[in-house]
Symmetry: C2
Subunit: 377 residues, 2 copies
């Protein structure tokens, strides 16, 4: 049975870029590949393209599925948003998802072969920044013949990329859509990232980042990193509602196996993640988060930093998001308004914390859908 609102079976593509890319750190990659997917049709005017930027653990696989027999298991991470008749309507828009540079889903990253050594880059893969990702994505846009994006959209770290697009290429983005994001990490945000990193870096199986050669992965470290992360993705209230103090066996058993259901949930999430995600990519992605700070070169003045933007904006935050609270989104909105930008802002009442941006909370998709509907194709 086909779902008329699904983009259906999709196949990723790979774009190879042979021109070197100089990164913000000063390091240089001689060339690179990006894995991407597209949904919908680019119109004749090439004016209906929307770029979807992914967050920490996301990928180019935004919508549709890889296997009709295993739809649910192979579904894109934002499939509830992207498709025919969905808020980001592929009947109207040509949607592009891309795995970022340094990722572990096929784009050039730590798992790739370093042409200089013939071995995987591992820890030698340079640190990449949000700015570098946008630079790489711009080359993909050139390749696809997309001069101007109708919109660049992302949640969390993806929202930072959307914001960065409007600053790096003000004339190439008509609408910046920044969801559950922040203009820069707080000390607490960095602190959580640092714990995650230390968990990986101190895992004996990390081998200084060259674990591929040792035939192991720093599974424990990655698992711990993900467990910490998960706590910050959920709201306190939602955890209380979903798990509370529910006991696995209805009684206290006085051991270190699972007693409370929340323990089981966290272990499961950690184990699952450690099965497939690459630890070096996790490390460099948390660093990209830490470094992102468009106001850095403006003495911390976000208003001055955002003066370059020419896009219109849709910004959304979620009331129970304590990782990137509504206050952080309001900082962005304020700085944009200060610069006379057209900004729509929705503060959504949703109990799912930071992860709300991945869900289809009714008011959220309604507000976002209404905004997207107003964008000329």
């Amino acid at each position: 049975m086909t779902d008329p609102n699904s983009v259906g079976l999709v196949v990723p593509q790979t774009a190879r870029f042979d021109q070197e890319i100089r990164l913000k750190s000063g390091a240089c990659l001689p060339g690179f590949e990006l894995v991407f997917e597209t949904y919908g049709q680019l119109n004749a005017a090439r004016s209906n393209a929307v770029l979807v930027c992914h967050a920490l653990s996301g990928s180019h696989h935004v919508a549709g599925y890889y296997d009709a027999q295993q739809k649910k298991k192979t579904l894109g991470w934002w499939d509830n948003l992207v498709g025919p008749g969905k808020p980001l309507d592929t009947n109207k828009f040509f949607v592009v998802g891309v795995n970022n540079l340094g990722g572990c889903y096929g784009s050039t990253g730590p798992r790739s072969i370093n042409p200089e050594t013939g071995k995987p880059y591992g820890a030698d893969f340079p640190l990449v920044t949000v700015e570098d990702w946008v630079e790489a994505q711009a080359r993909l846009a050139d390749r696809l013949g997309i001069g101007t994006w109708a919109a660049v959209i992302g949640g969390s770290l993806g929202g930072m990329q959307a914001l960065q697009w409007t600053l790096a290429y003000p004339e190439r983005v008509r609408h910046g859509i920044v969801i559950a994001s922040a203009p820069r990490l707080s000390a607490q945000n960095i602190a959580f990232n640092e714990v995650a990193r230390q968990a990986i870096l101190s895992d004996p199986d990390f081998h200084g980042g060259h674990y591929y050669e040792h035939g192991v992965v720093p599974r424990n470290g990655l698992r711990l990193a993900r467990m910490v992360g998960h706590i910050t993705y959920l709201s306190d209230d939602q955890m209380a509602e979903k798990f509370g103090r529910q006991l696995r066996h209805g009684e206290h058993r006085f051991h270190y196996d699972v007693e409370f259901e929340i323990e089981s949930y966290l272990r499961y999430q950690g184990d699952k993640f450690a099965e497939f995600f690459d630890a070096n990519t996790y490390l460099l992605t948390t660093k990209a988060l830490d470094y992102f700070d468009p106001a850095f070169d403006y003495g911390g003045d976000l208003r001055a930093a955002l003066a370059r933007a020419r896009a219109d904006f849709f910004v959304a935050s979620f009331t129970t998001d304590w990782r990137f609270s509504p206050e952080r989104s309001r900082e962005i909105v304020y700085a944009l308004l200060h610069n006379g930008r057209k900004v729509s802002y929705a503060e959504i009442d949703c109990d799912a914390g930071h992860d709300s941006f991945l869900l289809d909370a009714p008011h959220y998709h309604a507000a976002l859908g209404a905004y997207l509907e107003g964008i000329a194709p």
Copy 2:
């Protein structure tokens, strides 16, 4: 130079209990030792004794110092509260600090020799609960000839013990003083504890809890556990104020060494803690936190659970404490008031988060001091 407000040089004492203690888990210890300190003089009526209960990383060393040349380094953890002329005035009260059963500061715990094997208990040390701690403390009270405490006081996990005292021995506590505490952990609280535990349990140097025999300690795991803990002890605001995005070198250097000052702080706290604290004690203490739930046997009804209490109460919370928020303290206050208890409650405006209870924020010590002043010796 002597400080007239200090209890001065102190020496810990050890009490040996040869009668077995049956723990809540069903396990049994054939006997045990408790290390404790006392400050001030027990009056003739034996009516002026105050028990100070410690939190996760605290000890019996509440006030004074061990070395006059190294006062600051050897100062008790609540020295700002306890001493002659201080809020918990040792001119009036006989104050007792005790290291809990299972601790690592001298009381019987995982580092102690298991009489059955002749080797350290390690992972074989039974899990202990807040109820067990109170039971052991009651034996110490008997030994010291203290029939009734003028007050039992504690912050965080210490506050849980103070509350438990008023339930286990309603007639032996005149005043329960519960600071920055909660009637039970939330799912989020348990989640953070679980990450800390998994960090220790998955450290290859943990050796199933028998690391003493291997001549190592699970330093990495303990370090990570403490780093996670520290994030939850501080408020977001305080972290922002104290560290913000301050860079170690004034610029981004694109490596995994310390970039931001908050990273340096966390690593330092983790390293320092891992130097001296025992991982098995850390594990069992987090479990004691998880298990504490006086309402468990009352279908979750805290009001019913607290009906036994006969003490008067002072409860305090801190506005920026997101580990045990004011809301959690209000639950205790509400349940006590429901039972007609006399309750004083102070919600203190302090930016230091959960750790506020260890500081001498002016309104805090003023409120607590006023309450203590009202207690008949």
